[in-house]
Symmetry: C2
Subunit: 452 residues, 2 copies
């Protein structure tokens, strides 16, 4: 009945019940169990989204937004079936104002599409979660990545978000002004809400100038403690770091083995500096001096884009080198802790992986105190999945104990729901009240963030 | 009855009904009408705040938080009388972690106290609203100021806020991790909530490294349009500006006249560059080159702290030079618009001041598109107050029309309530629902943000 209404109102070309589309919308990049939606809608406008929510309301049908399916915590999996909303036809640039360094886009625009569009004006959208995610999905999970040390996360890029609420009201959470002290700050409430409070239909973002010059450097230390101290030292120096990544020695060994690199097998920092030419040159020299005093070895500078690309490729290859191990599944952690607690957490993570007897890697956005593990398991071997998941669980709990969070950038989705009570305490009840306020019927991405 | 309970529970030294304390807590720095509270409490701990709210709940008594009284929109005025909570005895540094560049403080700590404490560790808290405001008050109004172009506003500095809710629950909105995608982002909801959603009892802030070198420059342009284009050009260049302030020619004339300066009477930019020594030197040279191409005149660099202090003093003297005009009152605007719309708004503001026949100044945080007017009036002259207020009103409405906000940094308080509907539309209803959710009795700073 409601499917017929969707077809009538949206047009049959924008509604699919095909096996292939239902399969495509049943999963993301996470190992969470796939669930197929009953129907997939492809809205082309905010009005279409309003129609979908009206029908969902009337028939009490769950609605789950789907960006590009690159999420890592199952946010796009329609665990209670119903309607999956795919935004690929809502991928227009609505308003671009180079002089204001702002852009307004529909949620289906991807970050690479956005950069292609803005780069020729000397502007960029720096948030880089790795995948070519949709901007809507990146807002919904408060994504970040390697450049967060300089630019912050998605919530820090948002000027305004247009949202269709469950009851059909359409709101704008902000303005096009760079800052505001007017009314409650609703924008950040939707950043990271994973489609559970409303459906985002338009996003106004800050853009940033493309730095004149970029220089990369890598170096090694004898311990992860010293890597963390090096990161703190650089941050304290006031150098506006562009990227500051850690790979532990075991991960370097793996990436060398799998991809034929010959990086020194030691705990390694990958650094990026960006700004005006002379400023960057000086910053690199200062960084080298500061890190040498801390016992840094193998300091290597990559001055040209080709060399730089190669090094970042190695960094990205790390996760792939694990994932591509044929026949194995993987689970990954996404903890974020105060930097002072990072060394002990990394040591603990390596210990957990060792105890599991499984193969795994550790790398992280060390400037933010955010790091990931990936642990490989054979789902056909009894107990392996449990062992892999135990490393995740122990690490998330420890991160919360030391004043951090179970998820720095991937979001709660399905896998981090069980840590919400430990992490947020009484505030979790407040979050549930807000969910109830915005979605009394419980039709917006049910099953996410909160345990049933 | 409830006053007796306050005295019993808090101790009589922490509860005052004296005329002098009631007067001190009846007003802030704004021209809004003073209203005396019935009683002033001086909590020394979160537990005291819990006690105050319990009594307020039981007897349905309004509660209004008071920081240092430096607010500019009447947020601290207890318009429905009742209890004023003064946080001057909650001014402890709770936890300082230089290696994490974070600090946890009670709300009564002032920003100068905070900087005195952190500066010796090479760290600073950069948000500078001018006054030596309390951190609690700065969170409550989402304050910013001259350095927002580089560091953002208060909401961008917050890692965690401890809040006592109206119903007595105590929540923490975040963690000590630098970023998080866990649960709804409640922290920003409290930034700018002006004590209407809960009482803030603890704040964890990001700190920043003190730059090695600071250089100031000032220059002039023939039009405010060109000032705005210059600001855009600098932002696009990727130079991490520390400060970027505008004073229009009429304001320069006033500050020269009142304070004996001899600045060129033209539309002026005051710029600050900060970073490593060589980087800053190069950035200043690049900025000069870029601005020369745009027709900049009177480029003057201040390289040493004494000269720099003098120039920023002139900038700060501007508002004082008006305020100190004896016998006159003033009203001020705080609009923030997309930078591309700034020139027309400034032209409009100057036109409005001209039409009012009153004396006034215009200055602004041009890098953010945020500017202030101050218009002086004699409250004994019939019609002057209305004329002054009309300039404010027309400007706020125009700012909202062009995609901006009625308040960039001072907050809504009493004076900006009337623009909330135009600015937020349907979202204002959502804000009211959130207020109802957090404060069903309406005892938390009633009369603020929303019109009755």
């Amino acid at each position: 009945m409601y499917k017929q209404q969707l077809i009538e109102k949206l047009g049959k070309e924008n509604v699919s019940q095909s096996e292939s589309e239902r399969y495509r919308h049943s999963h993301d990049e996470s190992p969470h169990e796939a669930v197929e939606p009953d129907v997939v809608c492809f809205p082309t406008s905010r009005e279409d989204v309003e129609v979908i929510l009206e029908i969902a309301r009337t028939y009490n049908i769950p609605v789950t937004p789907f960006g590009t399916g690159s999420g890592l915590e199952g946010q796009a999996i329609p665990v209670q079936k119903g309607i999956s909303i795919n935004f690929e036809n809502m991928n227009a640039i609505i308003d671009f104002s180079p002089e204001d360094m702002t852009i307004t886009v529909q949620p289906g625009v991807t970050r690479m599409q956005l950069n292609k569009y803005t780069n020729r004006h000397g502007l960029m959208f720096p948030i880089d979660p790795g995948a070519d995610a949709s901007i809507g999905g990146m807002v919904a999970t408060n994504a970040s990545g390697t450049t967060a040390v300089r630019y912050g996360a998605m919530k820090d890029q948002l000027l305004d978000v247009e949202v269709v609420l469950a009851d059909g009201r359409v709101i704008h959470t902000g303005t096009h002004a760079k800052k505001s002290s007017s009314g409650y700050h609703l924008t950040s409430l939707f950043a990271g809400s994973e489609g559970t409070l409303g459906i985002i239909t338009e996003i106004t973002l800050k853009l940033h100038g493309i730095p004149e010059k970029t220089i990369m450097a890598r170096c090694t230390f004898d311990s992860t403690e010293n890597c963390a101290i090096a990161a703190q030292t650089l941050l304290l120096s006031g150098i506006p770091m562009m990227r500051m990544e850690l790979m532990d020695a075991a991960s370097i060994a793996e990436v060398n083995l799998q991809n034929g690199y010959d990086f020194p097998i030691k705990h390694s920092l990958f650094l990026e500096f960006a700004g005006t030419e002379g400023a960057v040159t000086e910053e690199v020299a200062l960084a080298e001096e500061l890190l040498n005093d801390l016992g840094c070895e193998n300091w290597t500078v990559a001055d040209n884009p080709t060399e730089q690309k190669e090094i970042w490729k190695a960094r990205h290859d790390l996760s792939l080198s694990f994932v591509h191990t044929s026949g194995l599944d993987e689970v990954g952690a996404d903890v974020c802790v105060p930097i002072s607690r990072l060394p002990e957490l990394i040591t603990y993570a390596r210990q957990l992986i060792g105890e599991s007897g499984l193969k795994g890697g550790i790398w992280g956005h060390i400037g933010d105190g955010n790091f990931h593990t990936i642990v490989m398991f054979n789902s056909k071997m009894e107990g392996e999945r449990e062992k892999a998941e135990y490393t995740n669980e122990a690490l998330a709990k420890r991160a919360i104990e030391v004043g951090g969070t179970c998820t720095g950038e991937h979001g709660v989705g399905l896998g981090k729901r069980k840590y919400q009570e430990q992490e947020h305490g009484v505030a979790l009840d407040v979050m549930k009240s807000i969910k109830q306020l915005f979605d009394p019927q419980g039709i917006l991405n049910p099953g996410k963030i909160f345990l049933p």
